[in-house]
């Protein structure tokens, strides 16, 4: 699961969900909750090959 310690390793995260605006908003709220409450772990980070690219995905 998305470890809360990440927030100490980064200055910020960029949440991307170009084809699904509702998904983007949901993810932003989840990220904010991690930031504020440090209680729940919402996002599963995966590395997925998309064509020639590997991208990091988060599953809500």
């Amino acid at each position: 699961m998305f470890p809360t310690k990440i927030k100490y390793l980064v200055n910020g995260i960029i949440v991307s969900c170009p084809k699904d605006r509702r998904g983007l908003t949901k993810a932003l709220h989840a990220a904010k909750t991690i930031q504020v409450k440090e209680l729940k772990q919402y996002l599963l980070l995966l590395e997925v090959e998309v064509g020639s690219r590997a991208r990091s995905y988060a599953i809500l």
Binding site: V10, I13, S16, G23, T25, A27, S56
Partner: protein, 189 residues
């Protein structure tokens, strides 16, 4: 930790749409990351869009410039605009090959950074892409360049230990790190 929402706007998106988007994300994000012509398909110019979001809606932005599409004189006005119009951060990246026309590709990220500084762009934070697929030595070498921040690719649970080392190094060098997290939903994945 700041949270940025990525936004790519194509033709047909007007000021009202931008306003709706900013209102939607404003309560749950600190800013907007604006790629330029993702995957080589044309989009609204990121510096123009960032200027509106910063100056009209008072929301922080990261604007991207695709170096595949500009020469030296094409890049400098964008850097001047970004600094003059209070855009917080400008990311320089070669980008994917253009789907319209041919690439210019005179400038690498480091060249554009030097060019901007030589031509007086001193206040603007300029950043580059940092991929975790490279070995640590290569990543450290890139961190030692004069960029102010890095957008991090291939950030995942598998390489969190590696990322922790990169983060420690970046902190020591005073560099900012912003990993990409792409949300997988039914429409997206």
């Amino acid at each position: 930790m700041k949270v940025y929402a990525e936004s790519v706007l194509g033709l047909g998106r007007d000021l009202k749409y931008i306003e709706r988007f900013v209102k939607t994300i404003k309560s749950c994000a600190n800013g907007v990351d604006i790629p330029e012509s993702s995957l080589g398909y044309p989009s609204i110019n990121s510096v123009v869009l960032a200027s509106i979001i910063v100056n009209v809606f008072n929301v922080d932005t990261i604007a991207h410039v695709r170096l595949a599409d500009v020469n030296h004189l094409g890049f400098l006005p964008l850097a001047y605009a970004a600094q003059s119009l209070s855009i917080g951060r400008l990311l320089v990246t070669v980008g994917d090959p253009p789907k319209v026309g041919k690439p210019v590709s005179y400038l690498a990220s480091e060249d554009s950074l030097k060019l901007a500084r030589v031509y007086g762009v001193r206040r603007l934070k300029i950043g580059a892409i940092l991929s975790l697929r490279f070995p640590l030595e290569k990543i450290y070498e890139r961190l030692r360049r004069d960029f102010n921040f890095y957008l991090v690719l291939r950030f995942s649970e598998k390489n969190l230990d590696k990322f922790a080392k990169v983060s420690e190094k970046a902190t020591g060098l005073g560099k900012e790190l912003y990993p990409y997290v792409i949300v997988a939903t039914e429409k997206e994945y």
